[in-house]
């Protein structure tokens, strides 16, 4: 099949759930013999969409990647103001304000709609993700009806999802792809869509080579919980740091918290909290494997590869129950302890630090869940099946009314 993926950022430097998933799908589909192309921006940062990569077309891991230049980097202050107008208050912002917000959301790519209109006929299917950013809006409206279209919204229950401006792009694609059952549920609830859909999940490497050692300055041999991901209020990290600090005040001891990821905001120094910044995959694996457990404090998740990777390493997890996706994974797998508030957070930390056997049971259950559902071959077969379904829907005539 000739498949086109449209994603706001692409490449090893484009960290992010949807972007990482897109790259994994694209390169693995190419390895399975499909002819794969990607249209994306030249940005590596979603904060300002500055062009850091060269515009143009190039082959990357057997995938032909077309990078379009940005029509302007995002002005963060402008975006904050428009966001305030668009996302707060009791009633939706007027339509023209929502469209202006989407334009500020970006990235605005020079000639994206023209490129898509011109090349749509070259492909057997298109895959667009995630819903939040402008390229998805442009791509779905430009490609729908021209090429069988799969839309992976990567949605979770958050204020932008409630904006009426998004109604159209959830209705135009031939099929919808979801990464979790919870994502499917939130989209059905929000949009009442009756498009064919499937939950594909995202694949996880289950047999990784041994990780290289990684030392955190000052941590020494202390036991630690590890949190992997951007340090950002949207990811729940500041709340985790605050709760962990108070937990440590009440339970003095050697337990530490290690945060692995880039910092979107300042973090107050604490003797039991260690920040590594961004580290390589092997170092991240080493840090997770060496921990007592992974903590996932995010409320907004559409899949959580971090959790799957920890489970693939048979590591127990502590997850924020306010995230339906994390709570769903925890319920189905039996591999994590969810917490609903600060008190429960303290209780599950106590349980896991005191009971190695419990940690082991949780880790084994988590790994089994990953083996049963998220091995790449099975995920790619579901992805291919979804693409086939899009082709069938595209070809079938609309129902007679």
């Amino acid at each position: 099949m000739r498949i086109l993926y449209v994603v706001p950022r692409y490449g090893p430097l484009a960290t992010g759930g949807a972007e990482g998933a897109c790259r994994s799908f694209a390169t693995r589909m190419a390895a399975r013999g499909h002819q794969v192309e990607v249209v994306t921006s030249c940005a590596t940062s979603y904060l300002d969409w500055t062009d850091t990569l060269t515009p143009g077309s190039a082959i990357e891991d057997d995938v032909l990647v077309h990078r379009l230049a940005s029509a302007g980097a995002r002005d963060v202050r402008r975006f904050s103001e428009v966001s305030l107008r668009t996302l707060t208050g009791r009633h939706p912002a007027p339509s023209h304000v929502q469209h202006a917000w989407l334009a500020e959301q970006g990235p605005r790519l020079d000639g994206l709609s023209d490129w898509l209109g011109e090349h749509a006929g070259d492909f057997d299917a298109g895959v667009v993700l995630p819903y939040l950013y402008l390229p998805a809006f442009c791509a779905v409206t430009a490609l729908a009806g021209r090429v069988p279209l799969v839309f992976h919204p990567c949605a979770h229950d958050e204020p932008p999802l409630r904006l009426p401006v998004y109604e159209r792009i959830f209705r135009l694609p031939d099929v919808l792809g979801f990464f979790t059952e919870e994502e499917a549920a939130v989209v059905r609830r929000r949009f009442s869509v009756d498009r064919p859909s499937a939950v594909t999940g995202i694949g996880v490497e289950v047999d990784l080579p041994p990780a290289t050692e990684f030392t955190v300055d000052g941590l020494d041999d202390r036991p630690y919980l590890v949190c992997v991901g951007r340090i950002d209020p949207g990811k729940g990290t500041p709340e985790l740091i605050e709760w962990f600090g108070r937990y440590k005040n009440a339970h003095p001891g050697s337990l530490a918290l290690v945060l692995v990821g880039d910092r979107a905001n300042e973090v107050e120094e604490h003797p039991d909290v260690f920040l590594t910044g961004v580290v390589g995959e092997s170092a991240r694996q080493a840090l997770v494997e060496g921990s007592i457990a992974l903590v996932h404090p995010s409320r907004y998740e559409s899949f959580s590869l971090v959790l799957m990777e920890a489970w693939a390493s048979s590591k127990a997890a502590i997850v924020n129950a306010a995230s339906p996706v994390l709570a769903g994974h925890a319920r189905r797998s039996g591999g994590a302890l969810p917490y609903r508030d600060e008190v429960e957070f303290g209780v599950v930390v106590d349980m896991l630090t005191a009971q190695p056997a419990l940690r082991q049971r949780l880790g084994e259950a988590g790994r089994q869940y990953v083996l049963d559902h998220f091995q790449w071959d099975a995920v790619l077969e579901r992805h291919e099946s979804l693409l086939g379904q899009a082709v069938s829907c595209f070809r079938s005539p609309p129902p007679q009314r």
């Binding site: 103001e81 305030l84 107008r85 707060t88 304000v97 202006a100």
Partner: protein, 89 residues
Amino acid sequence: MSQPLVWIGSFGPDGGAERVIAAFDLLCTFDDPLAELVMAGPAPDPANLAALRRYRDELKLFRLRFHVDPSPAERAGLRALGPAWPEEQ
């Protein structure tokens, strides 16, 4: 931070305030989301003033403030920012 825009007129039915709000909406939607506007003046018709407030709120113009019946000191402050007060023209 730039100074706010100032409009001085009447909040009455024929004062043109509604068109100013509509123009300010276009300005901060498509050109300058950081723009601020202070609209000041007498409000001879409370129902019309309420309708204007509703219009502002529906457009979610958080940077638009109404200043009804400003005191002499406030008027002096506004004079420094914008054109002369209508009564004093």
